[in-house]
């Protein structure tokens, strides 16, 4: 018999029924998909990254499947902040789990304009780490001051602000500046910069040439980044993301210091993977003879 265990966690003021959240991206701009993820057990939903103006993203091919992961070069397609804001209002009316809105911007002013339109969300996430769109995303990793300024701007909306880090660049430095500017939590990691060339076609496969690698291949990288972030900032809530396919990878990130874990690529196998990860964590916590999953956060450091 499985003992009753408490899977609830608190994340910068957000009450989560379990530690499994959907990371930004896989649900696109769809209330229907958000609801399916909630029904499947997700404890929070991160929306697709929104920019001030609509973006069509890169031309196909936008993904390349590998035996050990997935390359994507979506190019941040989204209908713009205005439309995303409407989706958030609609979603808030019918969904019970917290919604985290993801923002990409090049300046504090622009970030403010985006966030203004997304203020219906329960929290904001600054995407400082998209590896395949020039000027938006990962370039921020080279400019900790800009990240700090954008975080300050986002703070004015009175919602928790998370910063989503890349595993490239000085992520400890960026995290430190962002936290100094009032960020409430960290999300790590986004996809790793990558590309693929077809040996017979002899040209890059992805329409956007460069892409981001996700899935099992990047999991150990995510574990390392989360481990170091937790060591550096032990009181800061972290959403660990990268290669979570089963409860095992989820547990690993939690032991490294994540309070919650995000899933993206695993959803290619279906929404049921969310429930499987949640139930797997429940059995794991019970099997370890613990009452709450919170006891495991960062336990690998002890």
């Amino acid at each position: 018999m499985v003992r009753l265990v408490d899977l609830r966690v608190e994340l910068a003021g957000l009450e989560l029924r379990n530690p499994v959240v959907v990371a930004s991206g896989p649900l696109g701009v769809s209330l229907g998909l958000m609801k399916r993820a909630e029904e499947a057990g997700a404890a929070a939903i991160t929306l697709k990254t929104a920019t001030l103006r609509p973006r069509e993203g890169h031309p196909n091919p936008v993904v390349y499947e590998l035996p050990y992961g997935l390359l994507n070069s979506m190019g941040l397609p989204n209908p713009g902040a205005e439309e995303m804001g409407r989706l958030i209002s609609e979603a808030k009316a019918v969904m019970r789990v917290p919604l985290i809105a993801s923002v990409a911007a090049q300046s504090p002013r622009e970030a403010e304009e985006v966030a203004e339109r997304l203020r219906g969300a329960d929290a904001l996430e600054l995407n400082a780490s998209c590896p395949h769109v020039r000027g938006l995303g990962a370039e921020l990793m080279d400019d900790p001051q800009l990240v700090a300024d954008i975080v300050s701007a986002l703070r004015s909306f009175g919602r928790p602000v998370f910063v989503k880090l890349s595993a490239h660049g000085d992520w400890i430095g960026v995290a430190s500046r962002a936290l100094g500017a009032g960020a409430s939590g960290l999300v790590a990691i986004n996809t790793l910069k990558a590309m693929a060339i077809d040996v017979r076609a002899k040209c890059p496969v992805l329409g956007g040439v460069y892409g981001g690698l996700s899935g099992p291949a990047i999991h150990p990288v995510a574990v390392r980044v989360v481990y170091e972030l937790h060591r550096e900032f032990p009181d800061v809530p972290i959403i660990g993301v990268g290669g979570v396919e089963t409860w095992v990878e989820a547990a690993e990130l939690i032991l490294a210091g994540a309070t919650a874990v995000g899933v993206a690529t695993a959803l290619r196998r279906g929404f049921h993977v969310i429930g499987e990860i949640v139930e797997g964590l429940r059995a794991y916590v019970a099997g370890e003879g613990l009452a709450s999953i919170r006891e495991l956060v960062g336990a690998a450091h002890r």
Binding site: G28, P54, G57, V63, E65, M74, E83, A201, T265
Partner: protein
């Protein structure tokens, strides 16, 4: 990872439709209604139904639509290399008994593959095919020759009866009993066929198109609201019941930025 292929034949089967016969490096193993993403290096990648699969050969029926299909029509000939990933999506349920296959224009593509599978499973197949004119005669040939019985309608009456595939389907459904109806074509047409079948208590499935980007269910581009159905992963074949609850069906499309725009007629 792509499966490489060589174009064995590229033959027009109508004024703006080309049939491509590809020889793949290895067997695809598709079931009827599934699709492939076809990559034309340096040009782009599009979703196409597998119209037939025999050994390492597959057939694709490609209508000229925009950038990539236009490039294919203008440039891709015998000897070209194309790259294929798949099979993707969920195809049709292959039932026994008597089936009515309703195809409009290039919508016959997945039905050809389905017809072969149904016949293999011992079903009896009646086809109702709607074309613009007799110029598309060759487009109908493969389905017509596979089915036990085929009826063709053209908009201008230049071949078969004058009318649409819906007219033919309606007449057939009124006259006799079918165990299953399968339909692929314009959504307005599919909607009517679904209503006709459901009104008679006949199970029905339809195959849909939306803008497909990833093709594997991880980007949300191809979604049908309000149910959150991904055409590339939950479909492209859906049953009539589900589609009557999918408000976007026959009405809305999402463009490349994810904005809702009216479906093109």
């Amino acid at each position: 990872m792509y499966v490489g292929s060589e174009v064995l034949r590229a033959e027009p089967v109508g004024p703006d439709v080309v049939r491509y016969v590809l020889k793949l490096e290895r067997r695809l193993g598709s079931s009827p209604g599934q699709f492939v993403m076809v990559w034309v290096p340096r040009v782009g990648e599009v979703a196409l139904s597998v119209a037939r699969e025999e050994g390492r050969e597959i057939h694709l029926l490609v209508a000229r639509k925009g950038r990539v299909t236009g490039f294919m029509h203008d440039n891709v000939r015998e000897g070209w290399r194309l790259y294929v990933r798949g099979p993707l999506g969920r195809g049709f349920a292959v039932a026994k008994g008597t089936a009515l296959l309703v195809g409009g224009g290039v919508g016959v593509a997945p039905l050809i593959h389905l017809c072969a599978a149904l016949k293999g499973a011992g079903a009896r197949v009646v086809a109702a095919i709607g074309l613009r004119s007799a110029d598309y005669r060759a487009l109908a040939e493969d389905l017509a020759s596979c089915a036990d019985e085929a009826h063709v309608a053209t908009e201008d009456g230049s071949l078969g009866i004058r009318g649409t595939a819906v007219d033919v389907a309606e007449a057939l459904l009124s006259e006799r009993h079918f165990d299953f109806v399968y339909v692929c074509g314009k959504e307005a047409m599919m909607r009517q066929v679904i209503e006709l079948a459901m009104a008679r208590g006949v199970r029905v499935e339809a195959s849909l198109e939306r803008l497909v980007k990833c093709g594997i269910g991880v980007c949300g581009a191809c979604v049908l609201e309000p149910l959150g159905l991904r055409v590339c992963a939950d479909g492209p074949a859906f049953d009539g019941d589900t589609l009557t609850r999918a408000g976007d069906f026959g009405r809305w499309w999402h463009d490349a930025a994810g904005r809702r725009v009216p479906l093109q007629p």
